[in-house]
């Protein structure tokens, strides 16, 4: 982190460089010279690290950043590297102030931006325009918004689970509903499971736009990739990261059990799992976030910096919802009355 500033200076003219998604290289703002950030040993970025919950593993990789901004609205701590400083928080669009001494854990790898700001904005507009039952003119409102490029902190977790489960299901047939119970054992192997490493990174960002995350695209962490973008550093210990994402993991395990049982009306699932082979990475993934407000509410649309996949929040038009509701109501009532009339005779 200490060599950051000099690493971002152009060798030819001394100007400031930024990372260009289009050329996937550091580009000088003054003379246009490009610098490739790749190294022969980039494949090492795919390496994973073992974690054993029963053994205390003090992590000493805590490094303070020189210039961190903290959001006065959501509390997010964001690092702006190089040019194109933004005065707003990429997560919530709140104002940010300079703070010192933001200690974070070492980021092991990242995927550099491949989609640039202008394209990301067009994708966000396209997404907004294609919404069902959205207010008229939503795309125009979205067009007014600004996109912020952010390297968002994520975990990848591997683990092997040996799950013992008990559950009830509904047995069809006969006159009465019968509830049966079942139990069993299964193995689940989670591989490169993406988990947000910050409370500011919502699961919607992970599940909405990062479908095609591929660990083979990871590059070793280098400050040059961050030049011109915001980044949030890793603040969670491995144990904290696992704990923060336990609700999601629980949901996934329950879903695996449901599929394994493969019956109707599966409910009352209880399980015990023996977790082993935990491996993790602390990584940064590129995300464009567009903020806009509609009717006094703030919304955001996220665009993947890897492949441009888009997902977000949007308002609904009450009148259009009512129209759909009326149409479906009319159909159901007509059908119901026809059935009822037939039943009367």
């Amino acid at each position: 982190m200490q060599a950051d500033q000099s690493a971002l200076q152009c060798n030819a003219c001394g100007g400031l460089c930024y990372f260009s998604p289009e050329r996937s290289a550091l580009e000088c703002l003054s003379c246009g010279e490009c610098y490739d950030l790749g190294q022969p040993d980039d494949y090492l970025a795919r390496d994973e690290f073992a974690h054993r919950p029963d053994v205390a593993e003090p992590e000493d990789n805590i490094t303070p950043a020189q210039r961190t901004h903290q959001c006065q609205n959501c509390g997010g701590e964001v690092l702006f590297t190089g040019p194109a400083l933004s005065a707003h928080c990429p997560y919530c669009n709140g104002p940010v102030v300079l703070v010192s001494g933001d200690a974070g854990y070492r980021t092991m790898a990242l995927i550099p931006f491949r989609v640039d700001a202008a394209f990301a904005k067009r994708l966000a507009q396209k997404w907004a325009a294609s919404r069902v039952a959205c207010p008229a003119g939503l795309a125009d409102v979205v067009a007014q918004g600004d996109v912020a490029g952010l390297y968002a902190p994520f975990w990848t977790f591997d683990s092997d689970e040996v799950v013992q489960y008990w559950a009830n299901f509904v047995k069809p047939g006969g006159k009465a509903i019968r509830i049966s119970s079942t139990k069993g054992q299964m193995k689940i192997a989670f591989d490169d499971m993406l988990m947000p490493a910050s409370p500011h990174v919502t699961p919607l960002i992970r599940d909405g736009i990062l479908h095609d995350f591929d660990p083979r695209d990871l590059k070793p962490y280098r400050a040059g990739y961050l030049a011109g973008f915001a980044a949030e550093r890793h603040h969670q210990t491995v144990a904290e990261g696992i704990a923060a994402n336990s609700a999601d993991k629980d949901l996934l395990i329950r879903n695996h059990i449901k599929y394994k049982i493969d019956r109707t009306g599966v409910h009352g699932i209880r399980y015990l799992t023996d977790t082993s082979g935990i491996h993790y990475r602390r990584i940064l993934l590129p995300v464009w976030i567009l903020h806009y407000s509609y009717g006094g509410h703030a919304y955001k649309i996220a665009v993947s910096g890897i492949d441009g996949r888009t997902f977000g929040e949007r308002p609904f038009a009450r009148r259009r919802l009512a129209l759909y509701s009326a149409a479906i109501s009319a159909c159901v009532i007509a059908l119901g009355m026809a059935i009822g009339a037939a039943a009367a005779f």
Partner: protein
């Protein structure tokens, strides 16, 4: 009280109520549609949103049940007999709902 009105008036009232209370299920339906098409398959967010079908099913079944009763009443002209048949149908609906419990 309902017996003193006409079946067609009851149908109109049901239409109004169903449209009003349908706003929430329709909202859920659109969110589920977006989740199916846009959220990553098997992801936690998609599984959470898929839970919205309960609200949709409850709305549709309730409206359907009321409409079948009104249709029966309208055709037979016998409010008492129609409402007796309606209560019998609740048992069938409950079974339907229970067996739908595993559908996703």
């Amino acid at each position: 009280m309902l017996a003193e009105t006409s079946p067609l008036f009851a149908a109109a009232a049901l239409f109004g109520l169903s449209t009003y209370f349908g706003l929430i299920p329709i909202h859920k339906l659109i969110q589920m549609h977006e989740a199916r098409h846009e959220l990553r398959q098997g992801s936690a967010s998609r599984l959470r949103r898929a839970g919205g079908w309960v609200v949709v099913a409850l709305w549709l079944l309730t409206v359907m049940w009321c409409a079948v009763f009104i249709g029966d009443w309208w055709a037979s002209g016998d409010y008492q007999a129609a409402s007796e048949r309606a209560w019998q149908r609740i048992g069938i609906l409950a079974k339907l709902a229970a067996s739908a419990g595993g559908v996703r």
